[in-house]
Symmetry: C2
Subunit: 344 residues, 2 copies
Amino acid sequence: MTSDQHGKYVSVTIKDVARQAGVSIATVSHVINGTRYVSEETTARVNAAIEDLGYYPNKLVGSLRSKKTYTIGLVLPSISNETFGLLAEVIQKNLFKFGYNLIICNTTYNQKIEEEAFNTLLMKKVDAILAIPSSGAGDKLREIKGMGIPVVLVDRLLPGLQTDSVRVDNVQGLKAATRYLLELGHRSIGYIDRKIDQSHSIEQKTGFRLALAEAGLSPESRSVVRAGGYDYKSGVAAAQRLIEKNPALTAIIAYYDITALGALRGLADLGYRIPQDISLIGYDGMPVTEVACPRLTTVSFPVHQIARAACNLLMKRLEQAGEPQDIVIVPELIVRDSTAAPRS
Amino acid sequence: MTSDQHGKYVSVTIKDVARQAGVSIATVSHVINGTRYVSEETTARVNAAIEDLGYYPNKLVGSLRSKKTYTIGLVLPSISNETFGLLAEVIQKNLFKFGYNLIICNTTYNQKIEEEAFNTLLMKKVDAILAIPSSGAGDKLREIKGMGIPVVLVDRLLPGLQTDSVRVDNVQGLKAATRYLLELGHRSIGYIDRKIDQSHSIEQKTGFRLALAEAGLSPESRSVVRAGGYDYKSGVAAAQRLIEKNPALTAIIAYYDITALGALRGLADLGYRIPQDISLIGYDGMPVTEVACPRLTTVSFPVHQIARAACNLLMKRLEQAGEPQDIVIVPELIVRDSTAAPRS
DNA sequence: ATGAAAGCGCTAACAG
DNA sequence: CTGTTAGCGCTTTCAT
């Protein structure tokens, strides 16, 4: 940009560069993109003009013809969540390497905002959409897919939506956690569930149930309570409700680390010691679990693997259509200090 | 978009809508933007066509004429950092209300990536840039400002760069922390500094020094060590180096919560009890400090205030030029369980 | 080895 | 009340 005679800023365009270099705009374009041979001398003159004027080509215009904006939309509940934040960061960095930019939209678990976000991305003509959608986003995403825009689901599955996805095997994750408690000798295990059923929380519950069944335990051996939200405080309250409901519990698994951390405090406030009185397992392997005390046993959320897989899938789909792929990654149990054998 | 006869997807344009509704493209444009009166009947026909075809206006083209992309660039070190993540989220939500989108670029504290990020944003013709820049970004940001693109600095100041900024009064922040320790009776206080000097870490150190001077303490009463990085492990090592250097310390302040959390472990591993043997204060008021044990005394980072101020400043600057404003917010000391009077 | 000019999807000035 | 058309900055034929 440069200041015109009225003091208003005016953007430097390819025309300005062409004039300054004494060539046609076509030549400038070709120098920038390397799309045809331009003599060394001319190239030098053009580059000098670009440098001199401070020219930055308008990539939005290019997209008008090429139909590619090199922008990807990422729609997720909340980026301030450590796990999602890291996921977004790794995705952003991966895509940047491929020359893509990311527009991130936080929905704060609000379906109306989520829909608005999708619409905005559509109007910004993103080349593809990555989403950790709410369970109500199925129709919108189907519409988007119908427009020929690749959609990759991350950490979620939407019933009836045929599209690429990358996710964690939450059945195995919860199974591993439950089995571990069973091996330690626990027979009365509580579970703190998500407020509302979603594909992954249903999987978690299934894993929990399967592991108990494997051990020949009756459904009575388990107590389930739903947390009111994703926050720490909901975890405090949920754990207290759970232990009140079934005081015989010797172990509790929470569907989410923050909830487990809340449970830690909720139980401590009630005079329970962790892990001596009650064992506790979280879910997602968030960094905080390592500084909590006791350090929390949890199930990893393989962020880097997921991000890489999602980006690779996206790049592939941008090049060629094909059958939707579903990439499933098995998480690992991270054993730390919040679990122990029950007192006999 | 719709599938043409070759099975390839083709975007629905304003022309398609005009044809389908039997009106001119101008009318369609005016219906969409409400820029002139269109009869109810025609409006209805146009809207029906839009709905029917699944038309999403290409906002990138509009920007070609209006010179506004309604996109803002945010450049910061890392969004996976809880504080920055929350900041980014609040900014994104605020701007969304004003109809703006955010392209977030993580630089991972890498200056080359940072420069690339700025260039990309320039080519995406963002309307303005928000940045938590590295100390080396001055020249680039000056260039950007020179192009007439508003720049708002967040949580940083760059020497010689005249531009809007929103930041925390880190002198007061560290002063409050130090004064509190002095009031508790500590006379030998250590400080864990950032690896490289930056505007805010220099301010912190100044606050530390001033508070000690106020209390009439000589420079010998303080020991300073630099952490190797922003991570937990660097905190562990830094605290251990610090206490080795000066075993008489009864309190330590770290420039950053994560570092303090690392220090917590580093000291505990050496057999020190917190706060009985050594008091510890962090900086930034990150959520983790509340679940650490002991719960960490820290200095708040007023994320919401900062985000709101930055967005308001940005919106103002987008409307009218003017003298750069520097908004300074005073943080608060959050007293918790990692601080106590020294044993006499 | 380079230039001229059409056209991408849309807005806004002009025309009626 | 609505249509026609120039032109935004660039890529890409088609020419030479």
